[in-house]
């Protein structure tokens, strides 16, 4: 009986354990990268308002900047999430993926606006990437806004 169960569910167990470890390592690394790059790009403010805060500011250039990120949810979290969705409650398995996707998208948006003083009118949207119950799931985030360059920035 035990042998039979082991035969049938050993691959699943290995998959769960393996993907738990890979998922954890990848997430730790990603968060380290996010924190480092958030510090590096901290000079560029991003706001969701488009209002000119300083009426005297002279804008030399403005352009659309966009950042996208697709973060996968590994098998372990997908599986636990599937069980979790049967029972109810906060789907904590998907929380960090959503958080990482959003922050990665904002970072990429900022990185594509090198030299800008700020990005205004920032919007962030999410799309779940999943085909029904297939073992492929993830979160896509897209962040876009208007990068503005002030005249003194251009001169400086």
């Amino acid at each position: 009986m035990l042998e039979h169960l082991l035969d049938e569910y050993l691959p699943l167990l290995v998959m769960l354990l393996g993907t738990f470890l890979t998922g954890m390592i990848i997430e730790r690394r990603h968060y380290a990268s996010i924190l480092r790059r958030e510090l590096a790009t901290a000079r560029i403010h991003h706001l969701n308002s488009g209002k000119k805060l300083d009426p005297k500011a002279r804008i030399s250039q403005s352009r659309l900047v966009c950042g996208e990120a697709v973060i996968s949810v590994e098998f372990f979290r997908w599986f636990v999430g599937l069980l979790h969705s049967l029972l109810g409650g906060t789907m904590r398995e998907y929380e960090t993926a959503l958080d990482r996707a959003r922050r990665e998208a904002v970072l990429r948006m900022k990185e594509s606006a090198k030299g800008a003083s700020a990005i205004v009118n920032v919007r962030v949207e999410h799309t779940p990437i999943s085909y029904g119950l297939s073992r492929f799931s993830g979160v896509e985030a897209i962040a876009w806004g208007t990068a503005i360059y002030l005249e003194e920035d251009r001169a400086g």
């Binding site: 039979h4 996010i34 924190l35 636990v80 599937l82 904590r92 398995e93 960090t96 958080d99 029904g132």
Partner: protein, 272 residues
């Protein structure tokens, strides 16, 4: 503005260890699955005995994967075994009428389908030496049919499948695969009851219970061969069954008699 939160201390991420959270989810899901498993089993066992025979027949007809292809005409071997089955049914008013079908397979086994068809593998027939041994197998399968054991097993399997599909774990393949005859595996209790009742039927025909353990002797010989080990691991309690049948025989005052040799027409012999 600096990056304010990472993996830990992040307001957008639930507190606590993710692994511990996952274990809680597994535990809760296991409780849910266990509750469903037992309640389905109890419900099926309660409903199946109440079904009228016509319902059993119509359910059986719907299980098209389980129907064994037959040319309609019975082979001489099938006719011969059918006559023995009819004699058993006449001797024991409680025994149901069955239809005998022989399946070309080396596996030493017999199956009782819900609609009253009994499948005998050629591998089993080739190893049987006495008519009494065959009668015990037929009586055992008759008891399974009367007790609707196959229907219980299938009812459970079907209910589990429905639940599995409802939650998205299911595959449509399960019930279209004829290999799923293993779904007809019965519980220990069902097997032991069928052993006893089959013995009663055979006693009524022959007046003795000689040869009741022939099937188990064949099984034990086969088990010695490694290739069968996987299958027989699902029948680990043959010795216990022999002992229980012996006890039943003693309780009922049955005696052992001499066995009649089994003579079956050769394959393709149309003269019979």
């Amino acid at each position: 503005m600096r990056g304010e939160y990472g993996f830990s201390d992040n307001p957008n991420v639930s507190k606590g260890s993710p692994l511990l959270g996952a274990l809680k989810v597994f535990a809760a899901a296991a409780v849910l699955v266990g509750t469903l498993y037992f309640s389905i089993g109890i419900a099926v066992d309660a409903v199946v005995p109440l079904l009228p025979d016509s319902t059993v027949q119509s359910i059986s007809k719907r299980m098209d994967w389980i129907r064994i292809p037959s040319g309609g005409k019975m082979t001489p071997v099938e006719q011969s075994i059918q006559r023995l089955a009819d004699r058993l049914a006449e001797a024991d008013p409680d025994a149901p009428r069955i239809r005998v079908r022989v399946v070309p397979s080396d596996m030493v086994n017999a199956f009782a389908l819900p609609d009253g068809t009994v499948l005998l593998n050629t591998g089993l027939l080739a190893r049987l030496e006495s008519e009494n041994g065959l009668a015990f197998i037929l009586g055992h399968e008759m008891a399974h049919i009367r007790n609707r054991d196959a229907l219980r097993g299938l009812g459970r399997a079907m209910a589990y499948q429905m639940v599995a599909e409802a939650v998205g774990f299911g595959s449509e393949q399960v019930f279209s695969d004829p290999a799923q005859l293993s779904e007809l595996a019965f519980s220990r209790g069902q097997e032991e009851r069928a052993d006893r009742e089959g013995m009663d039927t055979v006693q009524k025909l022959y007046g003795h219970v000689g040869g009741y353990d022939e099937f188990f002797r064949i099984m034990q010989r086969e088990r010695a061969q490694e290739a069968w080990a996987a299958y027989f691991s699902t029948h680990p309690h043959d010795d216990r069954r022999i002992q229980l049948m012996q006890e039943h025989s003693d309780d009922m005052g049955y005696v052992m008699g001499s066995e009649t040799p089994l003579i079956l027409p050769r394959d393709g012999d149309e003269s019979l």
